[in-house]
């Protein structure tokens, strides 16, 4: 680790210039500096990590490198020559490729059609051949003729990577690439990236997953509040030391305590739940069963799009199942009850999407209280809304969960992701529900907020509630859950005590090693 500003100097000596150098980059949005005097140096063939919490300015910096936006001041140098990158097409011409966090592929088109869209016109057959060559050379197995909607998330990412590779990039930017991958898929991706780097292509790897950065990268730049706080060698640091650089002060690490979990009564029971997919892009739920006892936190792991959304909708009552007996809340069969009835029975829910599902961006915070509590907490008795009760609730949530906002009762859309997430989680937890189902509780949330939310989930279980956490974040699952089950292709594995599980075993189940097999994979398999 060295002081921030040291690395950019002149490269007049015998050393070749760095591939990319950023000097004094400032990007202001109004008065707010998203990037403030940022320096970044990437050498040819280097795997460089860009680390930081959400809102630290990583995306802003990368967007400027890729020409999506322009810095307010500061300079970029490409192979030692100053450049101004006006738009992404110029960045691509220079040899910069980018794989976005949210894929820009069209589901209705085939792999080759999607790739052709990004390239100059050429015969489809020749392009398919080139795709095949690149995919073989880099271990990115994909069939160019397949329709994209039939691909898994990991495969869609490969389409994006191949699209970049066909343009022979010298710098490949990867924005949080592993958030949707199983540990095994991540391993494959790293092999591809290692191979690319060995051939001289530099990688700029954006992440907040510290173990991955340690495994892959040989240099790191850490951003906090828009400023570079450190350049370091991730292999020489611990995950914890890098986390502290990212967050700035000591974080309260939430650890699962060994509690006498499972002693309480069964408060949430899913009993042979089957649910046909609503559309051809949906997932059919097949024979799911799970019991969550009072006092325990049960985690459902799985990569994105394996049926989590469908399960969540079946649990909230947004989609009704065929029989009342498939879902029991505190012993009451409620498979066909609407969300309001389930809430009255003591259940509470936090869906994955905070904007547009758990909350309405255009409504104020107190109106967003009404959204969930209109009947269960008597805010709208006999059809008339009691606004003072709602704003009282909103105030208590804001206070209890440290929700920071600019004004007294702002619209939800004006809150940062972390604050809105604290609000929607706090809104449900303050009811002290007997059953809480929460999906992706800390998705896209900074470490401070994540720690508050995880702490609250554990505390709720400690008071005797049953907490079910659906999450793609294995670190999170392992840090808060007493039992772990895995969802894959709409099937749910048996739950196992967390102490008996390892990330590798969960990873195997996530990849569908034995979806029907309820046994834990043995050591040899892992």
């Amino acid at each position: 680790m060295s002081a921030p500003a040291e690395q950019s100097g002149d490269h007049a000596g015998s050393q070749p210039p760095p591939l990319l150098e950023a000097r004094g980059i400032v990007k202001k949005f109004g008065d707010f500096a998203a990037n403030d005097d940022v320096a970044l140096v990437i050498q040819p063939g280097e795997k460089h990590a860009l680390l930081g919490e959400n809102g630290a300015g990583k995306s802003t910096l990368v967007k400027m490198i890729y020409g999506v936006m322009q810095p307010t001041s500061g300079e970029f140098f490409w192979n030692g020559r100053q450049v101004v990158i006006h738009k992404p097409a110029e960045a691509r011409d220079m040899g910069i490729g980018m794989v976005f966090q949210h894929f820009s592929v069209f589901d209705a088109l085939s792999v080759v059609e999607n790739i052709a869209l990004a390239l100059p016109p050429q015969p489809m057959r020749a392009l398919s051949e080139r795709i095949r060559q690149v995919s073989e050379a880099y271990g990115l197995a994909i069939d160019p003729g397949r329709a994209v909607h039939t691909l898994s998330v990991g495969e869609k990412q490969r389409v994006e990577i191949i699209r970049c590779l066909l343009q022979n990039p010298k710098l490949l930017i990867m924005d949080e690439p592993t958030s949707v991958l199983t540990p095994q898929e991540t391993e494959l991706l790293f092999q591809t990236l290692e191979k690319l780097a060995a051939e001289g292509c530099s990688i700029l790897y954006i992440s907040h997953k510290l173990e991955e950065v340690k495994a892959l990268c040989d240099a790191a730049t850490i951003l906090r509040h828009g400023r570079v706080v450190a350049h370091c060698d991730p292999k020489a640091e611990t995950a914890r030391s890098m986390a502290e650089m990212m967050v700035g002060d000591q974080i309260a690490w939430v650890e699962r305590q060994d509690r006498a979990a499972g002693g309480g009564p069964v408060r949430l029971k899913i009993d042979h739940l089957n649910l046909a997919a609503e559309s051809e892009f949906g997932v059919t739920l097949k024979d799911l069963s799970l019991e969550v006892h009072g006092g325990e936190v049960v985690g459902i792991a799985g990569v994105a799009g394996e049926g989590q959304a469908e399960l969540m909708e079946a649990l909230t009552g947004e989609v009704l199942s065929d029989s009342d007996a498939t879902i029991h809340i505190d012993g009451v069969p409620m498979g066909r009850a609407d969300p309001t009835k389930r809430r009255l029975a003591g259940a509470a829910f936090v869906p994955e999407e905070r904007n547009g599902h758990a909350a309405v961006g255009a409504l104020t915070l107190s109106e967003n209280i009404i959204l969930a509590h209109h009947t269960a907490e008597g805010i709208a008795a006999r059809g008339w809304i009691d606004f003072s009760k709602a704003s009282d609730w909103a105030g208590r949530v804001r206070e209890g969960f440290d929700v920071r906002a600019a004004s007294e009762n702002p619209v939800a859309a004006s809150l940062s992701g972390g604050n809105l997430q604290k609000f929607v989680v706090g809104r449900e937890i303050l009811r002290e529900p007997g059953v809480l189902v929460v999906s992706q509780p800390t998705w896209g949330v900074d470490a401070g907020a994540a720690s508050v939310i995880r702490r609250a989930l554990i505390d709720l279980a400690a008071k005797g509630s049953a907490v079910l956490v659906i999450s793609q974040d294995l670190e999170e699952i392992f840090s808060i859950c007493d039992k772990i089950a895995v969802i894959h292709h709409g099937r749910l594995s048996k739950e196992h005590p967390a102490a008996e599980m390892t990330p590798e075993k969960v990873g195997l189940l996530m990849g569908g090693a034995h979806p029907e097999d309820t046994e834990i994979p043995t050591e040899e398999m892992a």
Partner: protein, 370 residues
């Protein structure tokens, strides 16, 4: 280069200011149009838009005896505004639910037909109490017509914009057939029109010497009631949530299907009521032309009123001024009738453009550097 930057919070000030800017821009563009047609723009605009206000002012300020003669034009503005306000208030709620009922004109026509059916089949000497079933039938007719797009949307996911719009033409043809067939006045010399309604079916006039009728009270009551519903009750909250984020509505336990039914039946019922009110107050019989285009103009009313039922009252008054102004312009300036439609169209166009400013701010930048 003009750039649009998203605002962190939608601007409340501009949400209210946008209609004012749009009206000013419409006047400027209208002035240019008048000049291009060879008229003095200042004179033309003053006849078009300011005459009714001027006469209203005269009525307010002149001493009794001189004032009365200036009441007629303002009262005619209100008469025009009544159906616009009734329909516009319903559409404001409907659009808030993100349900796009474009066929209020058809529901209006059906309201006139079902109301007219009651009026034409009542016994001779019917008293004023008959207005109640007459108006109820009008509202039910509008609801029935709006139920068709609601059913097709909920059952088959058919686009309510197209269905409700196309039903407008069906309704117009139905009325045309009825006044040439079953409803035709046998003593009407073969004209395509019904008998005139009996006195019991005529909306009572509120102010002597004008045509200002009871419908004004209905429009105000409807607007206030809908405003209360939207701001104070769960029903209104459901409409707003389903309209803004249907998935959040499902999470809250609100039914999207029921909200679609509610939005269409409410707006259809008010359009049907407006049809019955208007026929009873003005032409007092069924005929092929019953000003069903109010159903379309009310879309502008709803937007001008910020999709707020009380706002729709003001929107209705402004659009009514454009109708009266159009008539004045025809008489005094020999301008074609189409000018009214052009003004109304420009108003909606500028309004929708100005609404962009609620969510975005304009930034000027030199080309090349963003």
């Amino acid at each position: 280069m003009i750039l649009l930057d998203p605002r962190p919070q939608p601007s409340r000030a501009l949400a209210l200011l946008s209609p004012v800017i749009a009206i000013v821009l419409t006047l400027v563009a209208g002035g240019i149009l008048m000049a291009a047609m060879g008229k003095d723009p200042v004179e033309a605009l003053s006849i078009y838009f300011f005459q009714p206000f001027k006469e209203f002012w005269l009525w307010l300020t002149l001493p009794p005896g001189e004032a009365e003669m200036w009441l007629y034009t303002p009262s005619e503005v209100v008469v025009k505004a009544i159906p616009l306000a009734l329909i516009g208030a319903g559409l404001a709620v409907c659009f808030r639910a993100n349900v796009w009922n474009i066929g209020a004109a058809g529901q209006y026509t059906l309201g006139a037909i079902t109301g007219g059916w009651i009026a034409l089949s009542a016994p001779d000497g019917a008293s004023g109490i008959w207005l109640v079933p007459y108006l109820a039938a009008g509202a039910l007719g509008g609801m029935a017509w709006a139920a068709i797009p609601a059913l097709l949307r909920v059952r088959f996911n058919a686009n309510e914009i197209l269905v409700s719009l196309m039903l407008t033409y069906v309704a117009a043809q139905l009325l045309d057939w009825l006044v040439r067939g079953p409803f035709k006045d046998p003593a009407g010399f073969g004209f395509p029109e019904s008998k005139e309604f009996q006195d019991g079916f005529i909306m009572p006039v509120l102010v002597g010497g004008t045509r200002l009728h009871l419908g004004a009270v209905l429009a105000i009551v409807a607007a206030v009631a809908l405003w209360l519903m939207m701001t104070r009750t769960m029903k209104g909250f459901q409409v707003r949530v389903i309209g803004a984020a249907p998935r959040a509505g499902a999470f809250a336990g609100f039914s999207q299907d029921r909200t679609i039914w509610f939005a269409l039946l409410l707006s259809g019922g008010l359009a049907g009521l407006a049809g019955a009110v208007e026929v009873s107050a003005t032409v007092q019989q069924l005929q092929p032309q019953i000003s069903a285009e109010y159903g379309f103009v009310a879309i502008i009313v709803a937007f001008l009123g910020r999709l707020n039922p009380i706002g729709a009252l003001f929107g209705a008054l402004i659009l009514a001024v454009s109708y009266i102004g159009g008539e004045n312009a025809q008489i005094m300036l020999k301008l074609p009738k189409a000018v009214t439609g052009i003004f109304q169209g420009m108003l909606l166009f500028f309004l929708l453009a100005c609404d962009t400013l609620i969510h975005y701010r304009i930034r000027l930048a030199a080309p090349g550097r963003a």
